[in-house]
């Protein structure tokens, strides 16, 4: 049981949140309504996605204060729980790409991990900036036109239509194309949460004394480069690209990894 604790918790959270959103439309629940772009918590607290908000602002439209306040609340929230906690605990696409990744391992598709010359993990930051530029030039929130995240979420709430093809495309790309292709290389939304994650409080902590160098964590981690300290130093995973998914903690048999709170007061060693 131990080695799927966080995985289970995440799936329960992801599905639970989607259920709340679904119920808001289907049954008029008011716990969490709207979509990730902008939501209402308990019918009163506004929430808004920071990157979506920036895209709308880039078009030159002066947004309502509810959205701005909502974006501030969400930024603050992920500053505490870890930027890309959104990715691994909320985003529905994560279930799709995790499944693709799991299948890859089962089918042993990534035996020879090739370095993709054209596709670097930094690409997402370029795409993120490009998204804002295109928004400004064309006059619509550019990533929202093709975002598989909200297409999938709206699909679940309002019905999929042809939008399902985008989700399938992501699945196939991650399965047969590039390992961690979408979430680890392309997704600008994940990139924006990575930036918040750079300074986040809740992070994974590594205890190098306890580590037996089994490398299970690196195999399972979707952003394995963030675990560069494993069996080298006892420091925290401070890279914003860590999704706080806790899979590394799950699979570690030696208690060498755990969630911890970054202490800004203590001088970082």
């Amino acid at each position: 049981m131990k080695n799927i604790k966080y995985l289970l918790l995440r799936r329960v959270t992801q599905i639970g949140i989607l259920l709340l959103y679904f119920g808001a439309n289907a049954y008029g629940w008011s716990i969490l309504s709207g979509t990730f772009g902008s939501s209402l918590l308990f019918g009163s607290v506004p929430l808004a996605d920071p990157y979506t908000t920036l895209q709308v602002l880039a078009t030159g439209f002066v947004l309502g204060s509810d959205v701005l306040l909502g974006a501030a609340i969400i930024t603050l929230f992920y500053f505490v729980v870890g930027g890309r906690a959104f990715c691994s605990w909320i985003c529905p696409i994560n279930m799709v790409t995790d499944l693709a990744n799991w299948l890859r391992r089962k089918l042993q598709l990534d035996k020879e991990q090739t370095t993709h010359r054209f596709l670097k993990r930094k690409a997402r930051y370029w795409i993120m900036v490009l998204g804002l530029i295109v928004s400004a030039v064309v006059g619509i929130a550019a990533f929202e036109v093709l975002s598989p995240i909200t297409i999938m979420q709206r699909g679940i709430i309002f019905g999929f239509g042809a939008g399902v093809s985008v989700v399938i495309a992501i699945f196939l790309f991650d399965l047969f194309g590039v390992k961690n292709g979408w979430c680890g290389h392309l997704c600008p939304l994940g990139a924006s949460y990575s930036l918040i994650g750079k300074a986040s409080l809740i992070r994974v902590d590594h205890d190098h004394e306890a580590c037996t160098n089994c490398m299970k964590c690196k195999v399972v981690c979707p952003e394995s480069h963030v675990l560069h300290m494993v069996n080298k130093e006892s420091i925290m995973v401070t890279d914003g690209e860590c999704t706080n998914c806790g899979r590394c903690i799950d699979v570690c048999g030696d208690d060498a990894l755990k969630f911890s709170i970054r202490n800004y007061l203590k001088k970082e060693q």
Binding site: A24, N25, G28, S33, G34, T35, G37, S38, S39, L40, P46, A48, T52, T53, V56, T59, G60, F61, V62, L63, G64, D66, V67, G70, F118, W126, I127, L130, G131, I133, V134, V137, V138, G139, I140, A141, A142, E144, V145, L146, T150, I151, R154, G155, I157, F158, G159, F160, G161, A162, G163, V164, S165, V166
Partner: protein, 276 residues
């Protein structure tokens, strides 16, 4: 030395590659985005701002559609269950900007709810509450302008002389947005044409008339305002209408000089006697 040269060349190559790919991506992305916002034939929720701005503003939260879906008046009287709401969130295949709310009158028209549940929930400003409020600041759905109903008289059976006032009776603003104009039917000599006429100063574009129309494909249908309405331009003024004259109060006369007119004004030329 050779390796550092090699490294530099490699660095320049990868930088060029990144820049090139970014530019390519940007161009493709812009082209695609521009394409998807092109559809002009769309009816937006009440209070929606100008389409061009709406496309920028709407954050695609769906709160308007959810409010419409869950409004109290959307309960089926017979089953007690809620019916399909008016507002749909565009999905792939709808050929509208994905994630934005719209409605199709022949599927579900807008019922012009007095409390307009769909508008105040909009967090972004894409739906403007002020535009559907009266002077006292109270919500007033009659102020909404989702579109304009247009009658295609060749397929409207009332224009054939057959009695039908389905659209008229369906209109929440009957007698104002649609009136019935009577004309003598010369063909039979003893009947009256009862023609539905839409008035754009009152019609909200709710589409209840379109949904009620009895013809196979509705002869009355709602079009977006920008498409349904012509513009006469500033040089045509209703001289008998004070309000219309006010429209050109600040208009400035612009004098252009051409080869012919540079010698004198048009009036001078016309009065010079050369014409006869």
């Amino acid at each position: 030395m050779a390796t550092s040269d090699n490294n530099r060349r490699k660095f320049i190559a990868t930088t060029l590659q990144s820049v090139g790919l970014t530019a390519l991506g940007g161009l493709l992305w812009s082209g695609y985005s521009d394409e998807v916002k092109a559809s002009a034939l769309v009816l937006r929720p009440p209070g929606a701002i100008k389409e061009e701005d709406f496309l920028k503003a709407c954050i695609k939260c769906g709160l308007c559609a959810e409010a419409c879906q869950n409004r109290e008046t959307n309960i089926d009287r017979h089953t007690g269950l809620s019916k399909a709401g008016t507002l749909q969130m565009a999905k792939g295949g709808d050929h509208q900007l994905i994630g934005t709310p719209f409605f199709v009158p022949t599927e579900v028209p807008c019922y012009m709810c007095e409390d307009i549940p769909c508008v105040p929930v909009c967090p972004s400003g894409a739906l403007d509450q002020l535009s559907v409020s009266n002077e006292a600041g109270e919500l007033d759905i009659n102020k909404s302008r989702m579109g304009l109903a247009v009658v295609h008289k060749e397929s409207c059976i009332a224009f054939w002389g057959i009695q039908c006032d389905a659209c008229y009776r369906a209109c929440p603003l009957l007698g104002e947005a649609i009136t019935i104009e009577m004309h003598r039917n010369e063909r039979t000599g003893k009947h009256t044409f009862m023609l539905p006429i839409v008035h754009d100063t009152v019609c909200t574009g709710c589409g209840l008339c379109e949904a009620a129309c009895v013809t196979e494909k509705p002869a009355i249908f709602v079009l977006p305002n920008e498409i349904a309405k012509g513009v006469a331009g500033d040089h045509y003024v209703k001289g008998w209408d004070k309000a219309d004259e006010a429209r050109i109060e600040n208009a400035k006369a612009e004098e252009t000089v051409t080869e012919l007119s540079k010698e004198g004004t048009a009036a001078g030329y016309l009065n010079s006697g050369d014409l006869y």
